[in-house]
């Protein structure tokens, strides 16, 4: 992928992510037997938030929300520009760091608990992502995203267990049930995003859409050079995690970390070992 395509894609990623989010709200409503909001609902929210009077706790907290948006945007560009996959993953950590430090920086119990849980989310899914970067390297022979996208191999065939593991950790990244402890709207009312309002909340809200694009592009990589399969994978992943979101209740953070560490990571490692054995 050239820099220009990546740049344009990154620039429009909030739009893409907004559509995904709008579709998700409809799909979720239909799954619950409701009609649901219009497809453009996220954009209505976006423009409405633009018009609100902003109130802030203190300036540091407020601009950390904006930094979260910029950081996520940059992380997405790093991923899309075809550079190193591991570095793109760690840039994602960097962008989360802004949200977490912002969440910690106010004396709100909900925000601090949420930020702590956000870190635990990271502890849960981050090793899995590093392992999948390694696995993709083993299959395609490169860490460069552009190389993976032009590889003749379809990593999915070699990495079925790892793909299942990543699929199950998708809710942890996008903060959906069963792994939505960091947001937990009924419990801690949005966690680190609770104290943002008006335009500053808008930044956090938009950053979440960009994270959708980030996460789904990661799924896309599992199809390697076969881009049609990649699109199918994204659609499958989308419906799968919406289904998961609707049929499961929230687990607590210990269960979440335990599930990732004791079930998903061993699953991924098994896959890695099998492929290493098969290759040697």
């Amino acid at each position: 992928m050239s820099y220009w395509t990546a740049f344009i894609l990154t620039l429009f990623s909030p739009v893409i992510g907004g559509f995904i989010y709008g579709l998700e709200r409809i799909v979720r409503a239909r799954m619950q037997g409701r009609v649901g909001p219009p497809l453009l609902q996220p954009f209505y929210d976006f423009f409405k938030l633009m018009d609100k009077r902003s109130i802030i706790i203190h300036s540091f907290h407020a601009f950390m929300g904006v930094m979260y948006l910029i950081g996520t945007w940059f992380a997405l560009f790093v991923l899309l520009s075809g550079g190193d996959l591991l570095i793109a993953i760690f840039f994602h950590v960097l962008s989360l760091a802004f949200l977490v430090v912002g969440g910690f920086s106010v004396r709100s119990p909900y925000s601090v608990i949420g930020a702590m849980r956000e870190l635990l989310h990271m502890v849960a899914y981050e090793p899995l992502y590093v392992l999948s970067a390694t696995a993709l390297y083993l299959v395609t022979g490169t860490f460069q995203v552009s190389g993976i996208l032009h590889s003749e191999h379809v990593p999915l065939i070699y990495l079925p267990l790892l793909f299942i593991a990543v699929l199950f950790s998708l809710p942890a990244i996008l903060k959906k049930s069963p792994f939505d402890t960091a947001e937990a709207h009924q419990e801690i009312i949005g966690g680190p995003e609770i104290e943002y309002s008006g335009k500053f909340y808008e930044a956090v809200y938009t950053a979440k859409w960009i994270e959708y694009v980030y996460a789904f592009f990661f799924i896309f990589l599992f199809a390697g050079g076969n881009h049609i399969l990649g699109a199918l994978l994204i659609i499958f992943a989308f419906f799968f995690f919406n289904l998961l979101d609707n049929v499961t209740a929230r687990v607590n953070f210990r269960q979440m970390v335990a599930f990732h560490w004791y079930i998903l990571i061993p699953l991924a490692v098994t896959n890695l070992m099998l492929i290493a054995l098969w290759r040697s």
Partner: protein, 623 residues
Amino acid sequence: MEKIVYSLFLVPWVLALAVFLLPGARFHRLRQLITFLSLPALSFLTYLVWNGHLPLQIETPRWLNLAFTVYDYGLLLYFLYQGIKFRDFLVTVLALFQLFLLTWILLIMPESSVPDFYVDRLSAFMFLIVSTVGTLICIYATKYMEQENLERENRFVAILLWFLGVMNLAVSVNNIEWFFALFETTTLASYILIRFRWDEVSIKNALRALWMNQIGGIAILLGLLFGIKYYSFTHFTQFLSLSGKPAIVMIPLGFLAVSALVKGAQMPFHRWLLGAMVAPTPVSAILHSATMVKIAPYLILRLSPVIKGTLLAKLLIITTGFVFVGAGLLALTQENFKKILAYSTISLLGLMMLTASMGSSMAILASLTLILFHAVVKALLFMEAGVMEKLFKAKYIEDIRRLVERAPITVAFTSIGFMSMTIVPYGIFVSKWMAIEEASNFLSHGAYVGSIIFMATGGVILALLYFKVIGVMTRKRGEFLKFQLEKVPFAYLFSTVPLVLFVIVGSIFIAKLLCLSVNPVVEAVIGTPAPIIAKGLTLITPVSELYGWQIIGAFVLLLIVPILAYFVHFTGTDRVYEYTCGEKLELNIGTYNFFCIQVVEPFVETAAVALFILTLVLGGGLV
């Protein structure tokens, strides 16, 4: 050239003597000046060595050998005396055992004509760290002790300076018997420094450090003994000649590696390093960063061409990788700021030794980068811990809550220190990245799969820990509007600012730094340089690239934060209180301390003991 190397040992000792002979409050300024002189003097000498013709082998007169033997006996007898004086069973017995082993070795010691000093780039690399980071800590210590105990300042700073000389000597000797003497001298130095405050806890912890490090000494002696028995080898360079040969007897190497694990405070021998925090903070700074524990990765790096690919290396990878994760987990449960730092040192030492035992050129490069940046960052963090302790009376996580309101500079420096250990553009991250990518090349063996898992999980646990601490420090009340920069004494700024600058500038120019400075060291260690290329700011490794714009972008993102925090206040925007469900509450936010993890502590330690024995028995080939 030889004179330059000698002066690298002697200059710190002369300066230490000068400082020691100027007691009292009157000469405080003079002592500071003398201590300050060590920085340009040692840096210049290191510069000369670095640019000189390396490797350098120095023949020494015979009387020096005798002198070292006499010194060995004196040192061990002093340990024995300390053991009897404080009625410490372990110290006494271990000292006696060492005396016995030493006598045995001296009886069967073969004559050898191998030069006793061997200064290559690895030694020069260690000189570099000692002579910059170490001397900055000494300068810091003059101010620190002024605020603590002016009467004993001369003694304290003199020991620190002397320690630097010892460290320089330790990394340049070739004779393993001499290395043992210097190994035990660093033990002695840490013993004296830890018990410096002379209270009950200090003495207890100092004795613990003493007996644990004595075990390391015994391991060296045993390694030397078996080396003489099997090969009649007494020098490191002789061991290096073994590399690449099949079916070598691993016992001496196994014991030397175990001594490195002990010195590097790997579990189960981590308690001595934790105990060191009772001493004044510069002691922790110097033990954790420039000296003492860095002997451990140094020793593994020395041996890595020989042990590469053997069972010993694989077991070392598993052991140190386990410590990397386990120490990180235990660090989560700690409340004391210095203890958190100590555990993270143990953890990162594990990573250094892991990459060093992998033995390929990229892994060695990663290990050296870690050593360099870890030394700088840990020195910085401990100095900031000392500043917090002295100026803001903050020792525990509870005390540093909302520190940013009182001390924005200290918080900024500490945050840079913490972030540089996890976040994307900094040097330690780059070495982790290279290590992960290198480990993926070897995935055919179980140990290497283990190393990937350890690197993936250990890194994220440390990130959790650091961001928790950063979060606690940067919390601020809504009513607090404008930052007031605190007044930090000049000596503190003088010793911390260069380190911060190095971390930032070194990370921006990481590609150049690795290619020009670290890669020659890699070549000296294993013979071939790592296949990396620097193109502008871009670092190109065999399998991937770290682009310059990524580094710059990350730095811009990170540097915007403090700048905006200081200048942007959104003064036109409404302020509001925190959401508390409508209740009017006195907000007093605690921290989550992960006490639930404490239950795993015995299991982690048991597993570490098991792995340790496994390394010694299977890796060393004792069966």
